[in-house]
């Protein structure tokens, strides 16, 4: 009974409003479970980092497995209505829902991952994952023996297409004979299907697997088949120790801590953040010394530094699309606008982009 009373009073108390001395409440909306060891896992790691950095100044909550439909409004709103000051919605398809709740709660701040629509109290943020693809591509170009790369893609959205293009550009620079075979799984998250796709690609001669889906099924398939793989979103070497070359890790912690601090200090404003290796939002997992030769590791590290300091860009011209048109001129780099809307393959990739 006491607990019920405490619960009710605390909910009421929090909705009335908190004084500046009280810890700020930071909410997270996850599309999957933190245990996926992929996308959501890394967001949760970011959340924990934020807590460790800010200590008593913040508390955090999360709701997981929030479906990407109208129900998300309720989940987001629940956080907004229960006294949360800052809410992170960690998937593109929460865009409309986030904006809707934001309209209703002008005093609550929202951060929408990988989106493109903002408001006074809605920021967007994303990571330049494609920079990590450049490095993986470079490694793959060197390490492949069959010159065939298997790419398990999810949906033909710009983020995924960017990744494929960046990968291919880097790989083909090192190895002009390289070919990418792409399977569109049309899911972010279906271990059976991802395993099938992985095995199909391996069967067609791919000796390195790359994925843009969320489970570690492809890397397990690679391990079983004795081929190599890149982990996705988090370091997945526990699942495929003999296949894992490196992984592109999404490091959200510093960004989350910075935004939470801005709310604590009262300096938060609506921004669009698209950081890459320069700000440490994209990080490569430790390179697998058992599989990669030392000089290749050194090249990869050098590339990381170059991407970080801007002396190298993932999309440096001249770049042609499949039809042979010049999309990026020599000496120029792709601007953010082109990157954000990228829906074409670079020249050299076979097959059509599903429309």
């Amino acid at each position: 009974m006491i607990r019920i009373i405490i619960l009710i009073t605390s909910i009421l108390g929090l909705s009335i409003g908190s004084a500046n001395a009280d810890p700020k409440k930071i909410g997270f909306i996850y599309i999957g479970p933190p245990g996926d060891h992929g996308w959501t896992y890394m967001h949760d790691q970011g959340r924990q980092y934020m807590e460790s950095q800010l200590g008593d100044a913040v508390t955090s909550t999360y709701i997981e497995n929030v479906p990407e439909n109208a129900d998300a409004v309720r989940a987001i709103r629940k956080l907004a209505a229960s006294g949360h000051d800052l809410i992170f919605t960690t998937s593109f398809n929460y865009m409309d829902q986030t904006l809707e709740v934001a309209k209703e709660f002008p005093d609550v701040k929202f951060e929408h991952a990988t989106g493109y629509m903002r408001a006074d109290n809605v920021s967007t943020y994303g990571a330049r994952f494609y920079e990590g693809r450049t490095i993986s591509g470079h490694i793959a170009g060197h390490m492949t023996k069959t010159n065939t790369i298997g790419y398990i893609a999810s949906f033909p959205i710009p983020e995924v297409v960017r990744g494929i293009n960046a990968f291919y550009l880097a790989a083909s620079k090192v190895n002009p004979d390289i070919k990418i075979k792409i399977i569109w799984a049309f899911t972010w998250y279906d271990p059976g299907k991802e395993a099938d796709a992985a095995n199909t690609l391996i069967n067609q001669g791919a000796d390195i697997l790359v994925q843009h889906t969320d489970t570690f099924a492809p890397c397990q398939a690679a391990e079983k088949a004795g081929v190599l793989a890149f982990g996705q979103a988090s370091n997945q070497e526990d699942f495929c120790p003999n296949a894992h070359l490196t992984a592109i890790e999404d490091i959200w912690g510093p960004y989350y801590a910075a935004r939470a601090k801005a709310v604590v200090d009262g300096t938060w404003s609506s921004t669009d953040t698209w950081d890459g290796m320069d700000k440490g939002m994209v990080v490569m997992s430790p390179y697998n010394g058992k599989l990669m030769p030392t000089d290749l590791i050194q090249e990869a590290v050098a590339m990381e530094i170059a991407l970080k300091d801007g002396s190298m860009h993932s999309f440096e011209g001249p770049i042609y699309n499949q039809a042979g048109e010049l999309m990026i001129a020599e000496g120029e780099v792709a601007d953010d606008g082109m990157l954000a809307g990228m829906n074409w393959y670079v020249q050299g990739i076979d097959g059509e982009l599903p429309q």
Binding site: Y41, I183, P191, N203
Partner: protein, 289 residues
């Protein structure tokens, strides 16, 4: 296209379709006795999670499969009690079982999501699935007990009049179905994609239900149907990887359309019906009537 790649594709199809074979052959036995159990998906998921969790906790593969099969027996036993003793509506009860199974499996598996395990080689199970299909076929068409099972499915009242226990036969059929569905699930979480994720069967249970119909309730045809259903998806992936682009959705629709066509063909011919669907499917048996 060389023979190695082709063999590889066949291998992948075999591995991918084995869960369908297990679940479908189990459901076939259940339906042959005249009971429709729509709870396949739920039982598969519970089987998957119990196998996985047992493996993580005890490290024993054998124990994992045993516990998983027992869980399937329990779930289907619950179903049996409801539809056989309490004579509840089979369609609704089966659906309740699926929904319950989805929820239960998520709750059991919550803290084990993402735990790495050492997967088992799937080939043993592929072969096991062949053996079971063969045994079921032999059972139904070459043994007396199998004949009794079929009789109960065709006409429970006549079978009862002949002195056979309709309840016992159906109970056995339901339990077998439950064990097979659980086995299908455990194969998925231990061999096929060795992990536990919520809802990892992704609708395969419903496909298995369609498969039983597509196979016109004949065990051998389960294998053919499974390869068609599973094969369509794999072939589509292969075509993609070769650079051939088809609108995937229409390709994926093919098995469902095919099932409907089969349904139409076998149902429209009165004679064919008698040879195919168990006539007392979904009708509850009450001794008093």
């Amino acid at each position: 296209m060389n023979i190695d790649v082709l063999l590889g594709v066949i291998q992948i199809i075999l591995i991918a379709t084995t869960p369908l074979v297990f679940a479908a052959i189990g459901e076939l036995v259940t339906e042959k006795t005249g009971v429709l159990n729509l709870g396949v998906e739920g039982m598969m998921l519970v089987g998957a999670v119990t196998a996985f969790v047992t493996l993580v906790i005890t490290g024993s593969y054998v124990l994992a499969f045993i516990v998983s099969i027992l869980s399937g027996a329990l779930m289907s036993g619950l179903f049996a009690y409801l539809v056989l003793i309490l004579m509840s509506n089979q369609v609704a009860t089966g659906l309740a079982l699926t929904i319950f199974g989805i929820g239960l499996s998520s709750m059991i598996g919550k803290q084990y999501i993402g735990t790495p395990i050492q997967g088992l080689n799937p080939y043993f199970f592929v072969i096991l699935s062949f053996i079971i299909v063969f045994l079921v076929g032999y059972f139904f068409y070459k043994t007396k007990l199998g004949l009794i099972f079929r009789a109960v499915g065709e006409s429970h009242n006549s079978s009862h009049a002949l002195g056979y226990s309709v309840i016992k036969v159906r109970l056995m059929g339901i339990l077998f179905g439950g064990c097979m569905c659980a086995l299908a699930g455990s194969y998925m979480s231990i061999c096929y994609a060795p992990m536990w994720q919520e809802n990892m069967t992704a609708g395969r249970g419903w496909i298995a239900l369609a498969l039983v119909v597509f196979a016109t309730w004949k065990p051998g045809r389960i294998l053919i149907g499974a390869y068609i259903f599973g094969g369509v998806s794999i072939i589509q992936m292969n075509l993609q990887a070769w650079g051939v682009n088809l609108p995937g959705q229409f390709f994926n629709m093919a098995p469902y359309l095919a099932t409907m066509i089969v349904l139409i063909i076998i149902s429209s011919n009165r004679l064919r019906i008698k040879l195919s669907a168990p006539a007392s499917l979904t009708i509850p048996f009450f001794k008093g009537r």
